[in-house]
């Protein structure tokens, strides 16, 4: 039967995509280079901040945040982590990574929270978003690294864009969930007292969804950190570098201290943001 003839490729989707990306690169590369600009500027600002501030001030700032939101134990852990990283000789890589992570997370938040609110308020928009979010979370990063590099060229900004693709879904999903979890009677009550839709959002839905939104933000930070190594593959720098370098040259020790720093940094950021979420 012809229908079951799977020996030859009937649908050359791969070629189509190839052609499409080539076409994009040829005609719209400029446009994509412009998209880069805001990311580039924010990243440079953050990097400048993390590299000009003296390390002790950065440690004090993180320790204060930990003490304020997450308690004494996390504060001690935070201080120890930063000292360890410094003594391991990875301070600069860590600052690059922090700048990258914060930059991606900020972009995820400013796009993800509004999208999540829309999805939370409209079933149709939620349905429309879902397949995209699934794809963003499950498509192996290596698949979109190449087109990203082709469009945005190699470097930290491309790393951030790839990170945003991967880290954006949880904040959208959890924002939507948080909005949807608000008890309908509370919305009825607000409307009954003459609230406009905007007031319902600002005074009722958003504050009540805030814990869920913070959980989403926390997830987004974790996912952004998990992209650090992959981003290093396209020249992003930071703590991914020692790992990639170590793997390439079989220097297990180097790869391990890079990995360890990522994990410790992740734990610090996780505990602090969780603490903020619970406040």
């Amino acid at each position: 039967m012809r229908i079951f003839n799977f020996d030859e490729q009937l649908i050359p989707l791969d070629e189509w995509i190839q052609t499409f990306v080539d076409w994009l690169v040829l005609n719209y590369r400029e446009f994509f280079q412009i998209i880069k600009v805001p990311v580039e500027i924010s990243l440079e600002g953050l990097e400048w901040l993390f590299f000009t501030l003296p390390p002790w001030l950065i440690i004090v700032a993180f320790a204060y945040a930990a003490w304020r939101y997450a308690g004494k134990r996390v504060t001690v852990f935070t201080v120890l982590t930063f000292f360890l990283i410094g003594y391991l000789g990875l301070w600069e890589d860590t600052m690059t990574t922090l700048a990258m992570v914060i930059c991606s997370v900020v972009f995820c938040a400013v796009t993800g929270i509004p999208l999540g609110i829309l999805a939370g308020r409209s079933d149709r928009f939620e349905m429309f978003m879902r397949p995209f979010l699934d794809a963003m979370q499950t498509t192996p990063a290596f698949v979109y690294l190449i087109p990203v590099v082709m469009l945005f060229s190699i470097g930290t900004v491309s790393g951030i864009l790839a990170t945003i693709v991967f880290a954006l879904p949880p904040i959208i999903r959890l924002t939507s969930l948080g909005i949807r979890q608000v008890h309908p009677e509370l919305i009825e009550a607000a409307l009954a007292f003459g609230a406009t839709p905007w007031q319902v959002l600002r005074k009722v839905q958003f504050p009540l969804a805030l814990p869920s939104i913070m959980a989403g933000l926390n997830q987004t930070i974790m996912m952004a950190l998990s992209m650090v190594v992959i981003a290093a593959l396209i020249g992003a720098g930071g703590l991914g570098n020692p790992v990639v370098q170590g793997l390439n040259t079989l220097e297990i020790g180097l790869a391990t201290i890079g990995g360890l720093s990522i994990v410790l940094l992740a734990m610090v950021l996780d505990r602090i943001t969780q603490g903020i979420g619970q406040k």
Binding site: L186, E188, F193, G194
Partner: protein
């Protein structure tokens, strides 16, 4: 006094589900709610409701679960969009209003109290009470002052800085009430506002509401599935069944003249002696004799004999009650020619009368202890009618046909 209509509902329909147009057509053909649901998966929430709510009254909407009460009350502030019909508040059709106008109307005239309280968990008690004012854009210090006054009205000013979840259910609903009162609404909508509270607190809240209502007359639309509650607080009651309003009236009117078996079933088990007053049941079936100057006792006796009555009720020309005569007392007077032949001289001793607002319970001893029917008077002494034992018992047993001999039960100790 002219009755001032606050809310008028005209031919209001709400149909939930996928095919409201089809369901409307089927309703027109006379199909029942259940049949329509089976055919179209479409629920008739409210059908063809028309009634008026007067200014300053507590209007109770009562009915079994699913009869459409919540749907009805939510159409009065358009939390639920009606499928057809009109709702007029102060003569303005709110269904025709734009979103902007609707928001203004809700802020200016309406507020609502919910069964599940629906307090904002992220706000303090004070902020909750001030919620409506905040939506209206009133500045912080003014709204907090007014919210605090509202909290004082419900006795919760000491809890202003607490969170709702630190309060008991009854207290939470007081906050809900304060939130409703703080905006100083014309109309307060209350959807089973006290149903989630335990009976003691519930009665307390009802008293509280009545007290507040006595101070500032608002129009209150109160949803309830509890008859006792409806009777206690309602000036008038609408009874809903399967989305229809089957009867509207004062508790007394409905109790005395239920529109159908559904309504009657609702009222079975209600003790009418608590609700009905002497004035509600008094009839003027007794012979009344109006004394004009020096009415002849003989003529009076003839009237009694002709009407086949043992007792007659004597009124003056203004219908003010004067006394009761009996055939015996008249004969006694006529036989004793030494006495002046004035009808007043034949009055029976120790006749009592009752005021029309006395409850049936109040008048029972008087009704039971004399052979004559107890005269019922208005505040100005005007004769309104009389309540006989027979009539009293018939009211108690209103499910029984009228001609059943009930007098025997009296001697059997049925009272």
């Amino acid at each position: 006094m002219a009755i001032d209509v606050k809310i008028e509902v005209r031919n209001l329909y709400k149909i939930f589900g996928p095919q409201p147009k089809k369901a409307m057509a089927m309703l027109e053909q006379g199909l029942e709610k259940e049949a329509i649901f089976e055919k179209t998966e479409t629920t008739v929430g409210v059908q063809d409701a028309s009634f008026e709510i007067y200014s300053g009254e507590i209007f109770v909407i009562m009915g079994l679960s699913g009869s459409g009460k919540s749907t009805m009350v939510r159409m009065l502030n358009r939390l639920i969009e009606p499928t057809a019909g009109q709702v007029l508040i102060d003569g303005e059709d709110i269904i025709a209003m734009s979103d902007d106008q609707l928001v203004k109307l809700r802020r200016a005239k309406l507020s609502m109290v919910f069964q599940s309280f629906a307090l904002m968990p992220h706000m303090t008690v004070l902020q909750n009470a001030a919620f409506g004012l905040e939506m209206d854009g009133i500045d912080k210090s003014t709204r907090e002052k007014r919210a605090l006054q509202a909290l004082e009205q419900v006795g919760l000013e000491a809890w202003a800085e607490s969170r709702p979840d630190e309060l008991s259910g009854g207290m939470q609903q007081r906050v809900g009430l304060a939130r409703g009162l703080a905006v100083d609404p014309d109309v307060l909508l209350m959807d089973e506002a006290f149903s989630a509270l335990d009976p003691l607190i519930r009665t307390e809240m009802q008293d509280e509401l009545l007290k507040l209502q006595a101070k500032a007359k608002r129009t209150i639309v109160f949803i309830s599935h509890d008859l006792d509650e409806a009777m206690r607080i309602g000036d008038r009651i609408a009874i809903m069944e399967g989305g229809r309003v089957v009867q509207v009236g004062t508790p007394e009117e409905i109790l005395q003249d239920p529109a159908d078996d559904y309504v009657r079933a609702f009222f079975r088990g209600v003790d009418p002696t608590n609700i009905l007053t002497a004035g509600d049941i008094a009839t003027v079936k007794q012979t009344t004799i109006v004394i004009t100057e020096g009415k002849n006792p003989r003529a009076a006796l003839q009237r009694l004999i002709k009407d086949d009555r043992d007792f007659g009720y004597v009124l003056d020309s203004e219908r003010i009650f004067k006394g009761i005569i009996s055939a015996d007392s008249l004969r006694e007077l006529i036989d004793d020619s030494a006495r002046e032949q004035l009808i007043q001289n034949a009055f029976i001793d120790d006749v009592m009368s009752a005021n029309s607002s006395d409850s049936m319970q109040d008048i029972l001893p008087e009704v039971a202890s004399h052979p004559w029917a107890l005269p019922i008077l208005s505040d100005s002494g005007e004769y309104l009618g009389a309540v006989s034992k027979n009539l009293f018992l018939r009211t108690l047993h209103r499910d029984q046909p009228e001609d059943q001999p009930v007098t025997e039960q009296l001697s059997n100790g049925a009272v």
